[in-house]
């Protein structure tokens, strides 16, 4: 395996970098959309219910099928992969965001509203800081799911570690399969640990602020 890495470094490193790129682009777009949707759902309560139903239906479609569905519209490649992954993430992100915000002590939100904060001020000054653990958990979940499903995006020429895996499968090359698996699992574990570290450090710094 090490030999393969030495002789074909680009065949391993390039897909790895592509994969990270795919995950990052997806994450940024997903979080941005989820934040906007969350803000809308805070304003209009029924919308949250409807959107979650909708996204849970989309989430239940197998990724390969969803990629195939989008090919006639957006073609093959990176863009289509990002669109599909963003859709999947909306379910994970929106659900965690809304649950997290919903779990903030209603007395605190009522007080904030009662002293005259606007709905968006209540959200950003009160609910988001108090729910940040749940918000972070949602993002972590979305990143890990993107790393996993992202490998399948190689089937529509989006590149990434999936290339290594599918190549290995086609040619029965165990070394490639192993490299693909190790790197994608390692990426997921590594990023998960990193995000958990950040989240824990954040809550241990501010832990005493929470109510007993």
């Amino acid at each position: 395996m090490i030999e393969y890495l030495r002789s074909h470094p680009d065949k391993i490193i390039n897909p790895f970098i592509e994969h990270i790129e795919l995950v990052l682009v997806t994450l940024v777009i997903s979080v941005a959309i989820a934040v906007i949707l969350t803000m809308l759902c805070v304003r209009f309560e029924r919308l949250g219910f409807i959107l979650l139903q909708l996204f849970s239906v989309i989430y239940s479609i197998p990724s390969l099928a969803l990629f195939a569905l989008l090919i006639p519209i957006t073609g093959l490649g990176f863009k289509t992969a990002v669109i599909v992954l963003v859709f999947y993430n909306q379910y994970l992100l929106l659900r965690n965001f809304l649950v997290g915000i919903g779990e903030v002590d209603p007395a605190v939100t009522e007080a904030a509203k009662g002293i005259g904060m606007k709905p968006m001020q209540v959200l950003w000054k009160i609910q988001v800081p108090l729910a940040r653990k749940a918000l972070f958990a949602g993002i972590r979940l979305a990143v890990i799911s993107t790393i996993g499903i992202g490998t399948i995006a190689s089937s529509i020429n989006a590149g990434g570690l999936g290339d290594l895996l599918f190549d290995g499968l086609r040619t029965m090359n165990t070394v490639k399969i192993l490299w693909g698996s190790i790197l994608s699992a390692g990426l997921a574990i590594g990023i998960n640990a990193l995000l958990k570290y950040i989240s824990d450090r954040d809550s241990s710094q501010t832990g005493h602020e929470r109510e007993p």
Partner: protein, 255 residues
Amino acid sequence: MEAIAYQGVTKKFNNSEVNSVDHVSATIAEGEFITILGSSGCGKTTLLKMTNRLYEPTEGKIILFGEDISTVDPIVVRRRMGYVIQQVGLFPHMTIEDNIAAIPKLSKWDKERINNRVTELLELIDLDPATYRKRYPSQLSGGQQQRVGLARALVTDPKIMLMDEPFGAIDAITRLNLQNELKKIHDEMKKTFLLVTHDINEAFKLGDRVMIMNAGRLLQFDTPRNIVQNPADEFVDTLIRSARDQEEFWEAVKI
């Protein structure tokens, strides 16, 4: 000057058959300390929440200083009033100072004005500013937290204060102290206070006038003395008698 006028105010919630608040009409003069007394579910909190537009009346009007509040932005209405609730609802992620200064910061007061105001209010509620301003709510006792809740509500110097069972979750001795302090604050400031409670002693002790509510209706609205001397109906009569019975119990135990 009339601070608050309720005109046939009615609230029926969507999921309910009956009116939670049923055609309540009353006028409150500026500077009065009004208590609203009733058991849970009688509509007293609903009436209070309509006063700062947390709820909208189904029917009727609420006039504050001559202005129909349904024509004013709810945020503006709320910022003109102080609001204190039983669960206090301090923001756990902010210091005491930031809790009190929440609205002034959003209204972009300058730093010095905020600082001075926080100091002034902490002194008013008997918490040493140097010790407490940087603490977090979880480091305070229940009574201290409610004092901060009161300071937060007073920060913009509102003409009207709305309080929903502010001492409901506080032990008896602390509650007595807080009641006395609240009375003192009212006497000094001459703001209009509206305090909801289910405790008849608290209602009669604090209120210049008491509104007695049952099943959404306002049964009697008068001074404690007049209510005791002329109960409007059987319900009010029973209420007063129950308080008297308790008194007799204490007299009996004394010997």
